[in-house]
Subunit: 248 residues, 2 copies
DNA sequence: CTGAAAGCGCTTACAG
DNA sequence: CTGAAAGCGCTTACAG
């Protein structure tokens, strides 16, 4: 490549480094040669020396919720616009495996994003040791020291409770998601605490964010009780399952 | 690292290369030091020299079809099990952009998989020039020379037509997907050709794989015609849109 | 503005 | 079985 353009390796490098000082003439020569050869700087070599690999690890658990599909699209797009590319890992297991994190480490990702999956503290430590920032999406963990972005589920579910209360509902059911997720816990907490204040004890059915489970538990419930005034599901999938059980 | 284990760089490398000849003793020393230091071989450096980066590029177009979410999970899992990690790109645009392919090239992916997106022939050439195999999933293109895996949509839709015919349906509608996709074209072809043989002309409504469009066209259709005996949508989303239009 | 040299962390012949 | 050396394709001081 540098032969073709008749300049040094350094100059080639400068042409592809925004803000580096190169003469217009050298730039033209290099760009033209690059065009002819189909040359592109090797990201691996660059990453090796600069320690900036331009990659971000994204881990996501395999579930049916289409919401996360959308999320994946957003992350991918926004990251690309900022010059990052995503190294993607689907985790089948509940906790993100050491093996999967190892991939992130080996490729020197500049950060990792975890959505809808759990992290063992060992894994977090490992990442920290390598100075790789990690952020949790839509969940948090008091015991883990990492950034996280999530919504105020407690407040939101209080609002839902308040709405239902205002409608005059009294016989109310809450169907949980996976009980070890902060999202489900918070929604339950906000919901029930509001109602308790008003003297209402919501019935709690244990779900796990799947359609099937939710269908099943509401089915069982309505067999033995009268149809409640309202059911609040921990997420959309849960609500769908309950809805279909009621229809039947 | 090699200092800690008191061996040469070469030996360290051999320990992490399956099948290389290292003594048990050296292996133990290295593994132990690695454990203490949290050492992992740098995949970038390795990729740079071996030309095997262990990465596969996966491009997917941003659509609502949950089917592709599942597909993504499968690809990701299977690839990981074979030692590959996936470099993921969501494409918003119809055709996969040069820019996005450049990413794949810069990182020296060992192959690229394209699902639900179009490829310009320029991009294919570019990839070919770099000896990067590319495979299309669930679509094909006569003009492009690349591998592809897809189902026999023509035959499948013939079978659907034959089923409807056997049920005695005569007034039949087909709602297309995006007309420039092989999937939609083949489904239409198989479906209508079978029916034409039986003397039935199916009405064709042009959709684009979205729920909204499908809802709209069937709505318009039933305003001006009587309700058909059967509607065949080019995919699930299309069928859903039609279904809801009918319900109303 | 430009080039020669060193170095990023690995692998791979080559000797021993 | 093991180590020294060269090299993968880049970037980055250092001189000029």
């Amino acid at each position: 490549m540098q032969k073709k353009a008749n300049v040094s390796q350094s100059t080639v490098s400068r042409v592809f480094t925004p803000g580096a000082s190169v003469s217009e003439k050298a730039k033209r020569k290099v760009l033209q040669a690059a065009e002819e050869l189909g040359y592109r700087p090797n990201a691996l070599a660059r990453g090796l020396i600069t320690k900036k690999t331009g990659m971000v690890g994204l881990a996501m658990k395999d579930i049916q919720n289409p919401f996360y599909h959308e999320i994946l699209g957003m992350f991918s797009e926004k990251l690309r616009k900022r010059g990052y590319t995503v190294l993607f890992v689907y985790t089948e297991n509940e906790e993100i495996q050491q093996e999967e994190i190892n991939h992130f480490l080996e490729y020197n990702v500049e950060g990792v994003i975890v959505t809808d999956a759990l992290l063992s503290s060992k894994v977090v430590t490992r990442l920290h040791d390598n100075n790789i920032p990690i952020t949790l999406f839509n969940r948090y963990d008091k015991h883990l020291s990492c950034n996280s972005v999530y919504c105020d589920n407690i407040r939101a579910s209080k609002e839902i409770a308040s709405y239902l209360y205002a409608q005059g509902c009294e016989d109310i059911v809450f169907i949980t998601g996976k009980i070890n997720t902060s999202t489900s816990r918070d929604r339950q907490l906000g919901f029930t605490s509001y109602l308790k204040n008003k003297g209402i004890d919501a019935a709690i059915l244990e779900g796990d964010y799947t359609y099937e489970k939710s269908y099943h538990v509401t089915n069982e419930y309505i067999k033995n009780n009268r149809i409640p005034d309202a059911i609040f599901g921990a997420n959309d999938i849960t609500a769908l399952g309950a809805l279909d059980a009621l229809k039947k």
